[in-house]
């Protein structure tokens, strides 16, 4: 188990769990960051924080502190540089 903020750009994982049940977690859930979902880190802001991630085909900005609440379970294969294969669809 590792958390979303430990991924580097281009790396992906499958969400295992979100910790906490405060408004921040609720917002993350509402935005579709749910267990079983594949997330990929697209990039990092120039000053190191926040992260840009890809989930459910959309881009989101998320702070490292919030990303640390998202536990991932495994690393699906890194996508080739120009294409990503969407699984489960």
């Amino acid at each position: 188990m590792f958390s979303l903020d430990s991924l580097r750009p281009g790396e992906r994982g499958i969400i295992a769990a979100l910790s906490g049940d405060d408004p921040v977690t609720v917002r993350l859930l509402e935005m579709g960051l749910l267990p079983g979902e594949v997330v990929e880190v697209l990039g990092v802001a120039p000053l190191g924080d926040p992260l840009a991630i890809l989930v459910r085909g959309g881009r989101l900005a998320i702070r490292r502190r919030d990303a640390a609440r998202i536990q991932l379970q495994e690393t699906p294969p890194r996508r080739p540089d120009s294409a990503i294969v969407l699984t489960g669809r």
Partner: protein, 737 residues
């Protein structure tokens, strides 16, 4: 159209996620016929488009862009109240248009699921259809319509494609009288909702809408819960809800995660045979643009360049237009002065009415230029990237990246800066940004700094002329507000907006070409809103301040001198040199007029107040003259220069470069002969100006943007307090070193 309500207007709410082109669609449907107001008690703007569909009057109600209908603030509660027909100033809503981004459908169906649960007849609008096709998505609209049981319409609002289907779709939705229940949750949940309804009835709350019961169970500590807990029997309700949620958890429905799980599950099942995704997600154009625009070095460079452009536009490009406003004002004032004899009426028209109108119009160039650029950056998708890159910086203030542009704009002028806080969707961050924006060193403070620095800061130079003491002081004064804003923002968050979370999870939308129509509409809309809604307040304040400075003195002598000066000036021989008897006579008369002006200023309510507060300003090192100047400059800080000019009998037409005023300040003495001004006094006065809320327009725009008198009053008090303490410390420390 249905005949039952043909007499009165149909009310149709428009809701959707941010970045779905909702504004463009609203604009395409409502055109220029939108009325803008406020919902009582909240900061949400009420925007209603009054139009006709086939002779049927229709009121389109634009609700703020939102990711969900789970209200966590009073602002978010407005959308729920409108949909449920519980917003008294809106009334019953006949149908709702739920706008979704066709290329991002799964996420946007989350909001649709909640909208359907309100029971209002709904039309799903799949906007940005072209973008979805471009990404290789195939969406079977008919199949989606069948599965959802509501009308679904595909549109491209920016090209006005597909919107003509909307009236018929609304008609169909209303004819069907709502839609079949979506049943996204397990039976246990619906049982609990029924039981909750019965329980609320036992507390005397009958007919609580289904959707509110859902929210009561699902939103722990949410706005709906807070509203009900305040009712009689609220404590027992809290216990009831806790027990009910525990029963649900035991049945495997764990709040809060369960709602998102079920609704996304529902969305995925809906879309399973509706949307065909391309097998491979190609690196899109947006990915490639982002690689440059959010790049560690290029990204920051481009951002700095763009922000410089924005700043340049409102600081420098607006200047000629503002000068034009000023000369227009002077021209009209000149005409009025010629047409009217000296006296109270002329003074009211010239110094009250015309100055008041001019004081409103002067802001228009900045507001329109700023909103032109903001609309452009927002509509093309760059604004979200700016917020993404600046988030780390703005966290120093406890704010998010979205506060960067409004605060930066406030360095030119807080009025457009505060209006720009509309880009901030989080209520707390928006309020804190509004309240610290007036601390940023706006351009109106500059003349005051220049006058005082020029007169009292020695022109010492360091490092071989590269750094001057005057420059350092100017830099210090300009940065003071920014530095002070950091602890102020932190305290405001702690003390006033404690309960509200500042989450920063933001969509980074696809880049697209901005729609010129929407950009121009935004400029028009903001300009109009400012003139109509803040303008009247600014105008009224100007008249009041004029009256305070004019009455109750007897102006007969001044009016007589004024006429004589004008008469003598008209007959001065052409090319008369200084020392010529006619010139000397004119100078004597002018000096008498200026002295009379100074006397009247001291006699006025404003002057008396200034004299009365001398004991209060004495610890700051100020005499009554500075007191009057500072009081007179509360409506607008730059006024102090003209006021000091009047007080020192120089007439009101001085500026910060004026040698006469500089000399008068340097020569001013206390009754015992000590000079009034020295370096600590000048510094204490500048610190006061740096921190004080001396700007009626800013306070009025805060009134308008927060929809409450409480916040402008608070801003005025906290900034005046800060300014006083800051000036006191500066003077006391300055006199000891």
């Amino acid at each position: 159209m249905t005949t039952a309500r043909a007499q009165s207007a149909l009310q149709i709410a428009v809701i959707g996620n941010p970045n779905t082109g909702k504004s463009t669609l609203f604009n395409a449907l409502a055109g220029m016929h939108a009325r803008v107001g406020n919902y009582p008690g909240v900061t949400v703007e009420k925007k209603i488009g009054v139009i006709e569909w086939d002779g049927q009057p229709v009121r389109l109600i634009d609700l703020p862009g939102t990711y969900s209908l789970s209200p966590r603030s009073l602002d978010e509660m407005v959308s729920v109240d409108v949909l449920l027909g519980q917003q008294p100033d809106v009334g019953r809503v006949d149908a709702v248009l739920c706008i979704a981004d066709a290329s991002n459908l799964e996420r946007h169906l989350f909001l649709l699921g909640q909208v359907l649960d309100t029971g209002v007849p709904t039309v799903l609008v799949l906007n940005m259809w072209d973008a979805a096709l471009g990404e290789g998505l195939k969406i079977d609209v008919r199949r989606l319509e069948e599965k959802l049981g509501i009308p679904v319409v595909a549109t491209e609002a920016h090209r006005r494609q597909g919107i003509e289907q909307i009236p018929a779709a609304v008609d169909r939705a209303m004819a069907a009288g709502g839609h079949p229940p979506t049943r996204q949750f397990p039976p246990e949940f619906y049982d609990e909702c029924d039981r909750l309804g019965a329980y609320l009835e036992s507390l005397g709350e009958s007919d609580v809408p289904w959707y509110l019961r859902e929210r009561l169970l699902l939103d722990v500590g949410g706005t709906v819960e807070q509203r009900f807990l305040r009712q009689p029997g609220g404590e027992r309700l809290a216990d009831y809800l806790r027990a009910s949620r525990e029963r649900l958890a035991a049945a495997g429905f764990r709040i809060p995660a369960a709602e998102a799980e079920r609704r996304y599950d529902w969305a995925r099942r809906l879309l399973s045979d509706v949307v065909t995704y391309p097998a491979v997600r190609r690196t899109t154009l947006t990915d490639r643009i982002d690689a440059v625009l959010t790049h560690r070095i290029f990204g920051l460079g481009v951002f700095a360049g763009l922000m410089f452009l924005v700043f340049q536009a409102i600081y420098a490009w607006a200047e000629p237009l503002m000068k034009l406003c000023e000369s227009g004002q002077d021209f009209v004032a000149g005409l009025a002065a010629e047409a009217l004899p000296p006296g109270p009426l002329r003074s009211l028209v010239v110094d009250g009415v015309i100055a008041g109108v001019g004081g409103v119009l002067i802001f228009l160039p900045q507001i329109m230029l700023l909103f032109f650029l903001i609309a452009l950056l927002e509509d093309c998708g760059y604004m979200a990237r700016g917020a993404f890159m600046m988030d780390r910086v703005m966290r120093t203030f406890g704010l998010s990246g979205k506060s960067f542009l409004p605060l930066m704009s406030s360095f030119a002028c807080a009025v457009p800066g505060i209006m720009a806080t509309r880009v901030i969707d989080n209520h707390r961050d928006r309020m804190v940004t509004i309240l610290v924006a007036p601390l940023m060193s706006c351009s109106a403070r500059l003349p005051v700094y220049l006058l005082l620095i020029g007169a009292f800061v020695p022109p010492t130079e360091y490092l071989g002329g590269w750094v001057s003491l005057q420059g350092l002081v100017l830099f210090g004064m300009s940065s003071l507000g920014l530095v002070v804003a950091i602890p102020v923002a932190w305290l405001l968050k702690r003390c006033f907006f404690r309960g509200e979370a500042g989450t920063f999870v933001m969509e980074l939308p696809d880049y697209k070409l901005p729609s010129p129509r929407l950009v121009l509409y935004r400029v028009y809309e903001r300009g109009k809103a400012f003139v109509l809604r803040a303008g009247s307040l600014i105008f009224a304040a100007t008249i009041l301040v004029w009256a305070a400075g004019y009455f109750p003195g007897d102006h007969a002598e001044l009016d007589r001198l004024e006429e004589e000066v004008a008469a003598v000036a008209a007959h001065l021989p052409e090319g008369a040199a200084a020392g010529h008897p006619a010139v000397l006579a004119w100078e004597r008369l002018r000096d008498a007029r200026n002295a009379e002006g100074a006397r009247l200023m001291r006699e006025s309510w404003l002057g008396r107040a200034g004299v009365a507060i001398e004991p209060v300003v004495l610890p700051l090192g100020w005499d009554w003259r500075i007191g009057v100047g500072v009081l007179a400059s509360f409506p607008a800080r730059e006024v102090i220069i003209a006021t000091l000019g009047t007080i020192y009998s120089l007439g009101g037409e001085v500026d910060e470069e004026s040698e006469g005023l500089r000399g008068a300040l340097q020569a001013a003495t206390w009754p015992d002969g000590r000079p009034v001004y020295n370096l600590p006094v000048a510094l204490s006065l500048m610190v006061f100006f740096a921190l004080c809320a001396q700007c009626v327009s800013t306070l009025m725009i805060i009134r308008r943007e927060t929809n409450s008198w409480r916040w402008p009053a608070f801003t005025f008090l906290y900034m005046t307090g800060l300014a006083y303490v800051g000036a006191w410390i500066t003077y006391q420390v300055g006199m000891r070193v």
